[in-house]
Each structure stands twice: as C-alpha cells, then as structure tokens.
C-alpha cells in the first residue's frame, strides 16, 4: 500500500477563488466597479437593481448579469431601465461560479463601467463560490421571517452591504426590522445595513451611499 499526498492538488473551491481573484483584477484594470447581489428568491434583488439602474444611468454605463436559472425575466426587467444586460444561464446549477462570470466579463468589458451581478436565489451555495466582485450585497426581506440572519451567518459576515427589504410589510409579518439589523451587526459590525421598501424606491439613496456609488 502506498499513501499518496494530494494536498497540493487544487480543489474546486480553491480554483474558483483563484479565478474570482483574476476576474476582480481584470475588472479593476478596465475601471469597472462590480457588485455581487445575493439573496433568497423573491427578496427583491431584481427590483433593487431596476431602481438602482434607473437612478444611476446618468452617471454610469451599467451592466447587469442575471443568474436566473433558466429564464430571461430578470434580465429583461433590468434592461428596461437602461442597463445593458447579459443573461447567464446556469441551467440546473445552484450557484454562479467564477467561470460563468469570466466569460461574460470578456464580452461586456468595453461597454460598461459598473457591473451588477444578480446571483441565484439561495443563500447557501453562493457563499462557497465568490465571483470576484468588489463588493457583496445581501438582500433579505421581512417576509422571509425573523431567522434569516441567524441561519446564514457567514454570508452576512462577508457582506459589505446588507439590505433589509419590504419594511412596509414588517408589521403584518410581525418581524422586527430592528432585531434583524441587530443580528447583522452582531455577526458583522462593519457591514453597512440599509432598510428599504424597494418597490416604492425608499432607501435607494441610502443604498447608493452605502455602496459608495
């Protein structure tokens, strides 16, 4: 019997992280700022990107990559607000990985200077697959209940900005926005928290500020 050490072989996750670093470098070299948007299905990611595109289209050439699993619904919605959109079809994959982004970036790089990536709608898998964006933003909404932060601590730990959306429904849902914010701050004191009602456009200015745009 022979024991063969394989520690030096590159693992899939490590490979993805390296690729993510390359993507980040490539984006920076071309002067493109990039934001990875994560959050459960229905939390309001696309709505927020629509509002951001509308508000920022005078100042940036915006691109959006929508990681919707199979449809172009999200990409189409964002495109209506003046962003150049690129659909990435992930098929059955549960996460976007850096490979998807790498190809897309080559395609769009000359046409934009701000890139949003709408990640697929789950908070578990994307945490293992960073995409190389400058900033990570997580969107949760009060309709997902009071334990969203406690159940997914790492994603908040790594988030630069966290949005608590649908605060208009907080009372009906009997979910405390203050408690959610306190949960985030406990895990990650440096994460900037923005409370929003995205559908009405409330909190967009605060979000733009939190993202430094």
């Amino acid at each position: 019997m022979h024991k063969i050490d394989m520690r030096d072989e590159e693992s899939l996750l490590a490979h993805n992280r390296e690729l993510a670093e390359e993507i980040n470098k490539k984006l920076k070299e071309r002067g493109i700022r990039s934001i990875d948007v994560m959050g459960a299905i229905g939390s309001g990611k696309t709505t927020i990107l629509e509002k951001l595109s509308e508000r920022l289209k005078g100042s940036y050439r915006i691109g959006a990559l929508a990681g919707d699993l199979t449809t172009t619904i999200d990409a189409d919605r964002i495109a209506r607000h003046g962003a150049k959109t690129f659909q990435i079809s992930t098929g059955k994959e549960c996460h976007l990985d850096a490979h998807f982004i790498s190809h897309a970036v080559d395609e769009v790089a000359d046409e934009i200077d701000l890139l949003f990536i709408e990640n697929v709608g789950n908070l578990i898998c994307p945490a293992d697959f960073p995409l190389g964006a400058d900033q990570r933003m997580v969107v949760i909404s009060v309709t997902e209940g009071p334990y969203m932060v406690k159940k997914h601590p790492y994603i908040f730990a790594e988030a630069d900005v966290a949005v608590i959306n649908k605060r208009d429904l907080a009372e009906a849902m009997e979910v405390s926005v203050e408690d959610l914010e306190a949960d985030i701050k406990e895990i990650s004191p440096d994460t900037r928290v923005v409370r929003m009602c995205a559908r009405a456009g409330e909190g967009i200015d605060e979000l733009i500020k939190a993202l430094g745009l």
Binding site: M1, K3, I4, M6, E9, L12, L13, C94, I187
Partner: protein, 132 residues
C-alpha cells in the same frame, strides 16, 4: 446544492493521481471538509462513490475529517478557532461568527472553507503477489 460539483472535482483529481501513480486499485480516499463550507459530508461521499463507479477507485473506502475554522480578528488580532454555540433552534452546534476575544472586530477567514483530498492510499502492481 453543490455537493455534486465538488464531488466531480474530487473524483477527477483522484483518478488522475491514481493513473499517474500507476495504481491498480485505490483502497482509501481521505477527505478534509472545512467547517465553514456549506457542504454536507454525507452527500459529498454519496456523490463521490457514485462518480467513482467503474473506475480504479470503485472500491475505495472514503473517510472524511472536519477541519475547524480558523479566523483572524482585524481589531484585536486574535487568531484561532471560532466559539461554538449549541443552537436549540437548529438542533446542532454552529460556529459563532464573532471574535472570541473582543467580540467586536471583523473576522477574516484563514481556514475552514475548503474541501480537499488530503491523500489516497493505493495498490500498485508490486503490491499484488505475482500470479505465476
């Protein structure tokens, strides 16, 4: 979930290494799974066994070890593992993502977010009693 993607990467690496080392049989695969990955070890092992069928590693025993998280606090420069909290809500223990010393600083993850093959144990031609 993404256990299958990860298992595919592992299966490829194991087979490639076994070929390079001229293995006639892979007897054991030793995995290390980080505490901070979102991988369910049972599912990784299930997929890996599935993907190794009809290969030189078909009969390999698959063992896994959990690698504890290691973090660094940017405020007080603590370096080490995270505290673990028994959470009645989820019936399991979860690492607490707060600095164990100062409770305040932001943490950088140093270890615990990988899933690797640490080693494989193989048999080569020379290990097999020569058939006359």
């Amino acid at each position: 979930m993404h256990e299958m993607s990860v298992a595919q990467g592992i299966a490829q690496a194991v087979i490639k290494t076994a070929e390079r080392e001229k293995a006639v049989k892979v007897a054991k695969i030793n995995l290390e799974i980080g505490e901070l990955t979102f991988l369910n070890p049972e599912q990784v092992i299930f997929w890996l066994a599935e993907l190794l069928k009809d290969s030189v590693a078909e009969e390999a025993e698959i063992e896994h070890m959990e690698v504890r998280a290691k973090v660094r606090c940017e405020k007080c420069s603590y370096e080490g593992p995270l505290d673990v909290h028994e959470d009645p809500l989820f019936h399991r223990s979860l690492p607490v993502f707060t600095c164990p010393w100062c409770k305040k600083g932001s943490l950088t993850i140093l270890e615990g977010r990988d899933c690797i093959v640490s080693s494989i144990e193989i048999l080569t031609e020379s290990d097999i009693p020569s058939r006359k």
